[in-house]
Amino acid sequence: MNESINRRRWKKFKSLKRGYYSLIILLGLYLLSFLLPIIINNRALIVRYDGELYFPIIKGYVSGKTFGQDVPGEARYRTLQSKFKNEPGNWVIMPLYPYSPYEDITYSGNKMYQPPSKSHWLGTDNTGRDVFARMCYAFNISISFALVLTVVNYIFGVLIGGTMGYFGGRFDLFFQRVIEVWSSLPMLFVIIIISSIIKPSFFLLIGIYTLVNWISMTYLMRAEFYREKAKAYVAAALSMGQSDFNVMFKHILPNSLVPIITYFPFSVVAGIAALVGLDYLGFGLPPPTPSWGQMLDIGLQNITKWWMVFSPVTAQFFTLLLIVFIGEGVREAFDPKVYSRLR
C-alpha cells in the first residue's frame, strides 16, 4: 500500500479533533487500566516494618503475622496503615484507591449497599464490594475481550471470506450455505451447552463468540477479494508464477484493508455489548470477575440503589461513545465523504 496515502489518512484523522482526542483518551485509559492493580487495590505498595521494606504488590501473598497483625491469612493493609500512624518508623504506602474489586463483607468494615461516599466513590454492591473498583477493572476486561474477539474474528473472516471470494465457484456456494445455516443457530444454546461442560473462561468465551461472529466479516472480505481478483495486478502476479497463497495475502489483502480498518471500531463496540449481555444473563465470565453485565444484573435486582445501575451503564456508555467517535474519525479519514455514517 502506498505510504503517502496512509500518511495522508493519518493526518486527516488527526485533523478530526473529536475522533483523535477520543483515541488518545481511550488509549490512555486502556493503558492505564493495566496499572489498576497498583492504583486500585487493597494490597499495599510498600510496607516498612521494623526497619525492613516489603513490596506486597510484587510479592503477592504476605501473611498478616509478618507485620505483627493478629489476623489469620493475608495482612489487612488498610488497618495496618492506620495502626502504623502511631508507630514511628513503620509506614504503609497504599494504592490511590485502597479497595480491591473482590473484597466483600468478609473483610471486616465493608458493608453492603453503601451509597456513594468519600471512601467508596460509587458505593458498594449487594455483597459489600466496591462498585468503583469493579467498574474500573471491568473496563479493562471489556476492552481486552472486545479487542481480542475482533482480531480473532477478523482472522477467520479474512481467511474464509478471502478464500471464498478468491476461488469462487462451488467452494463459494457451499460456504454460503454453511454460513446461512450457521447464522440461524441460537447462540445462547451453544453457550449454555458448552458452559455446562467446561467452565467458561476468557478465551473460551472468545472461542464461542467467534464461532458465531466470524460471519459478518466473511461477507465483506468475500466481496473485496472477489472484486480485487478481477483486477489486472492479480492477473499479472499470477502470470509471474506466484502461488495462490501469495497472491491472496501479499497482493490482494493489503488492498482490501480499508473495510477491515473502518469496521474495526464498530466491531469492538459490538464485542463489548455482547460481553455485557452475556454477563447479564449469567453465561459470561465466571464470578467474581468484575463485569459490567453482572453489575447491571444485580443493580436491576435492587433498583432502589441507583448507583448500582448507573455506574456500569455510564461506564459502558462513555466507553462505547469514545469508540464510536474514533470509528467516525477513522471512517472519515479513509472515506473522505463529508458526513457521518455509523458503520
Partner: protein
C-alpha cells in the same frame, strides 16, 4: 421466489391452524347435591347406624371436642364471604393433582387441599388422624391391613355419593403407568389393589410392614369412579389438563375461571357436603380465592401488593423485609407485617459435598470448610441477623440431635485440619498446596446465577485461608443433571423438610454409588442402614425420634454438608382486613397458604381500614414476632 411463496403459505397454515382449535366446552357447574339419604345399605355394611357398631367391629375414630381442639379447626368468629387475592410466580402446568406435571407445590397447596379430599386427614396440631371422607378406620393386628368406612353423606360435586369403588378407581388410576407419574406407582405400589367390601367399606392390604403405609393410604386424595371408569390414563391426562375432575372439597374452579398463564379463581361451594361438621364449619371462609400469576418478577409482585392488588405477601429475602417494608401503610398499621414462628421443618440447606471425590473425600477438608464458612457473619452482614443457624438434617424439629457439633467460625482449627491433611504451605497466588503431591487445593462449585450473592462471600472467606473455590454458573437443568450424575465437587442445594423424616432416600448406603437419587453426597454407614431398617417398621413415635436422632448424630460426625442458615418462621405482610385464629398459621405448616384455609375477611376491620386510609388515621401495630407455637411448646413441656 417460488420457494418463498411456498414458505409464506406454510406460515399461513401455521397461523390458521392455531385458530381452529376446538375448545372442550364441557361445563362443570356443580349441581345441588342430592338430599336423598341412602337407607338401603345396612349399618353393618357401613350405612347409617354404623357408628353404634363401630367399636364392636374394632373400628376407631376421632371425635371433636371443644377443650381438646379449640380453634384448631377454625375460629368460631369466622365469617364467610369476600375474596382473597394472591399472586404467585408460576402458573400450574396442569389443574390435575394426579399424573404428569402435577407434583408442583402450587398444585398440592391450593388445588389438592381446597378441591379434593382424602379418606382421613390429620389434626393440624397433634397430627392425629381425623375423619374426612371416612368416619372410621381399622388397622389389623399385623398392621398390614386397613379398613375404612366412608361417610354415607359424602358427595361429589355432581351430587353422586362417595363409595368404596371410588377408592379402588383412584388407586387404579394412580397405578396406571400411562399417567406418566412414576412417583405414584412407587408410593401406591406398596399396596395390593383395594377391595370394596361393601358400598361404604373399603379395605386395603400393604405388601410390607411400615408405619407409613397407613398414612399414605389414608391421605390419598380421591377422584370419582363414575368419571374414571370411562377413562384410561392417557385420556385422563388429556381431558383434565386444564379442567377440573369432580372432587368433594369445599372449593371448585369453574372452567371460565381458568385463564392459562394468567390467573385462576377458586369458588366456595355452598353445598359442600361437610360444611356443618365441627372439623370444617369454621374453615374455608373466603367465597373466592383468586391466584394470579406474575412470572419471574419479585419486585413487580411486591409493587402490586403495595397497591392492594394482592392481599397477603410472603417476604422471602431479608433485605426486602428490613429495608423495604417501612412505608406509610406499615407505619400507620394499615398493613401488618409479622414474623410468625411455627414448627415447620426448616429442611436441609447448605453446601453439599461430593464425598466420592477429592478433595471432599477427606473429612478434614470438609471440616475445614465448615470452620471457615462464617455463616454468622453473613447472617449479620447480609441477612440482617434474620436467621438462625442450621446444625442438623432436621433443624427446628424434635428429631434434631442436640449433641451435634455446632460449627462456628474457627480459622485456627481449620488451618490445623488443613495442615493435618497435608496442606501446609501456600503458593504465590496464596492458594494452599499439598506438601507431597503439590496439588493446589482448588475445587469448583456449580450454581445458578441467582445464588451468586450468597456464594461469593464464602468464596472470599475460603480464599483468605488459601482454599480456592471456583464458581461456575450453569442453568438449573444442567445443574440438576450434574448433581444427579455426581459430576460436581460441591453444590448449594436446599431440600424441603418433612414432618415425618424420611432419611432412607438420602442416606441409604446402596444409593451412594447410584446416580439419580437423593444420596447426593455419597453417604455410607452400616449403623445408619441398620437404623433405617428399624425405623420403617417401628410404630412407636418415641423410638422413631430416638432413631432419627442417632442417625442425625452419625451424619453430623461424617458431615457431608456445610449447613447454612435456618428459618423457623414465615415473614408475612397483609392488608389489615383479615380475621384469623389466635395462632394465625398452623403448627406444622406455618406458611402463607394456611391463610387460604383458616383466615376470613373481617368486615369491621375492612371498615376501619377504609376509614383509616381516607383520614390518615393510625391503626394499632402488633409486635413483629408472633410466637404462639413456641409458647405452646413451652406449655406442653411444663
Amino acid at each position: 421466489m417460488k420457494m418463498k411463496i411456498y414458505l409464506l403459505g406454510l406460515a399461513c397454515v401455521l397461523f390458521i391452524s392455531c385458530g381452529g382449535d376446538g375448545k372442550n366446552n364441557k361445563k362443570m357447574t356443580p349441581q345441588k347435591s342430592e338430599s336423598k339419604k341412602d337407607q338401603s345399605t345396612s349399618a353393618k355394611d357401613g350405612g347409617y347406624g354404623f357408628e353404634d357398631l363401630a367399636e364392636g367391629l374394632g373400628f376407631q375414630t376421632y371425635k371433636w371436642s371443644k377443650e381438646k381442639d379449640g380453634t384448631y379447626f377454625g375460629d368460631p368468629k369466622a365469617k364467610k364471604g369476600g375474596t382473597l387475592n394472591y399472586i404467585h410466580s408460576l402458573f400450574p402446568r396442569t389443574m390435575r393433582i394426579i399424573g404428569q406435571n402435577s407434583s408442583q407445590v402450587l398444585n398440592s397447596r391450593t388445588i389438592a387441599s381446597l378441591c379434593y379430599e382424602s379418606l382421613l386427614s390429620q389434626h393440624p396440631t397433634t397430627l392425629d388422624f381425623i375423619p374426612k371422607l371416612a368416619t372410621h378406620w381399622h388397622i389389623s393386628d399385623d398392621k398390614m391391613k386397613f379398613k375404612f368406612r366412608i361417610n354415607p353423606d359424602a358427595r361429589w360435586w355432581d351430587g353422586m355419593p362417595v363409595t368404596a369403588e371410588d377408592v379402588v378407581a383412584t388407586w387404579d388410576l394412580r397405578m396406571d403407568e400411562t399417567i406418566l407419574s412414576p412417583f405414584e406407582q412407587m408410593t401406591y405400589g406398596k399396596f395390593e389393589r383395594p377391595v370394596a367390601e361393601s358400598k361404604y367399606i373399603v379395605s386395603v392390604k400393604a405388601n410390607t410392614v411400615n408405619w407409613r403405609n397407613f398414612l399414605y393410604f389414608a391421605i390419598m386424595k380421591l377422584h370419582p369412579n363414575h368419571i374414571l371408569k370411562e377413562l384410561d390414563g392417557t385420556a385422563f391426562l388429556e381431558e383434565y389438563a386444564f379442567s377440573m375432575i369432580p372432587g368433594t372439597g369445599p372449593y371448585f374452579i369453574p372452567e371460565e375461571n381458568i385463564k392459562n398463564q394468567e390467573s385462576y379463581t377458586f369458588e366456595r361451594r355452598e353445598d359442600y357436603w361437610d360444611k356443618d361438621s365441627p372439623f370444617s364449619q369454621h374453615m374455608f371462609n373466603f367465597d373466592k380465592i383468586k391466584v394470579s400469576v406474575v412470572k419471574d418478577n419479585d419486585a413487580l409482585q411486591f409493587e402490586k401488593f403495595k397497591k392492594g392488588e394482592q392481599d397477603i405477601f410472603n417476604v422471602v429475602r431479608s433485605r426486602r423485609w428490613i429495608e423495604e417494608t417501612d412505608f406509610e401503610a406499615t407505619q400507620k398499621g394499615w398493613m401488618k407485617k409479622q414474623r410468625i414462628f411455627s414448627e415447620k421443618p426448616a429442611g436441609t440447606s447448605g453446601y453439599y459435598f461430593n464425598m466420592r471425590e477429592w478433595p471432599f473425600n477427606d473429612k478434614r477438608i470438609r471440616y475445614a470448610f465448615c470452620y471457615l464458612y462464617d455463616r454468622e457473619k453473613m447472617n449479620r452482614e447480609m441477612y440482617y441477623n434474620e436467621y438462625g443457624m442450621m446444625n442438623s438434617l432436621y433443624s427446628g424439629t424434635v428429631y434434631e440431635n442436640p449433641n451435634n457439633n455446632k460449627f462456628k467460625y474457627n480459622p485456627e482449627k481449620a488451618v490445623q485440619l488443613l495442615k493435618e491433611a497435608g496442606y501446609t504451605s501456600r503458593n504465590s497466588d496464596g492458594w494452599l498446596v499439598h506438601e507431597k503431591t503439590g496439588r493446589v487445593l482448588s475445587f469448583t462449585i456449580i450454581t445458578q446465577k441467582t445464588s451468586a450473592y450468597m456464594i461469593t462471600p464464602v468464596q472470599q472467606m475460603l480464599k483468605e485461608y488459601g482454599m480456592d473455590m471456583q464458581i461456575q454458573f450453569i442453568d438449573y437443568n444442567t445443574m440438576i443433571k450434574n448433581v444427579n450424575a455426581r459430576n460436581f465437587n460441591v453444590c448449594m442445594l436446599a431440600y424441603s423438610g418433612l414432618i415425618y423424616p424420611n432419611p432412607e432416600s438420602s442416606l441409604r448406603s446402596t444409593l451412594a454409588d447410584q446416580d439419580d437419587n437423593n444420596n447426593v453426597w455419597g453417604f455410607k454407614s452400616d449403623r445408619v442402614d441398620e437404623l433405617l431398617d428399624e425405623y420403617d417398621i417401628c410404630f412407636d413415635q418415641k423410638r422413631r425420634i430416638e432413631i432419627i436422632q442417632e442417625i442425625d448424630g452419625i451424619f453430623n460426625e461424617v458431615h457431608p454438608i456445610a449447613f447454612s442458615i435456618a428459618r423457623n418462621y414465615s415473614r408475612m405482610m397483609w392488608w389489615d382486613k383479615f380475621g384469623y385464629p389466635d395462632w394465625m398459621l398452623s403448627r406444622y405448616v406455618g406458611e402463607y397458604w394456611d391463610a387460604f384455609y383458616y383466615w376470613w375477611i373481617d368486615d369491621e376491620k375492612v371498615d376501619r381500614l377504609d376509614d383509616a386510609m381516607q383520614n390518615g388515621k393510625q391503626l394499632p401495630i402488633m409486635p413483629i414476632d408472633m410466637k404462639y407455637w413456641p409458647a405452646y411448646l413451652l406449655e406442653l413441656a411444663s
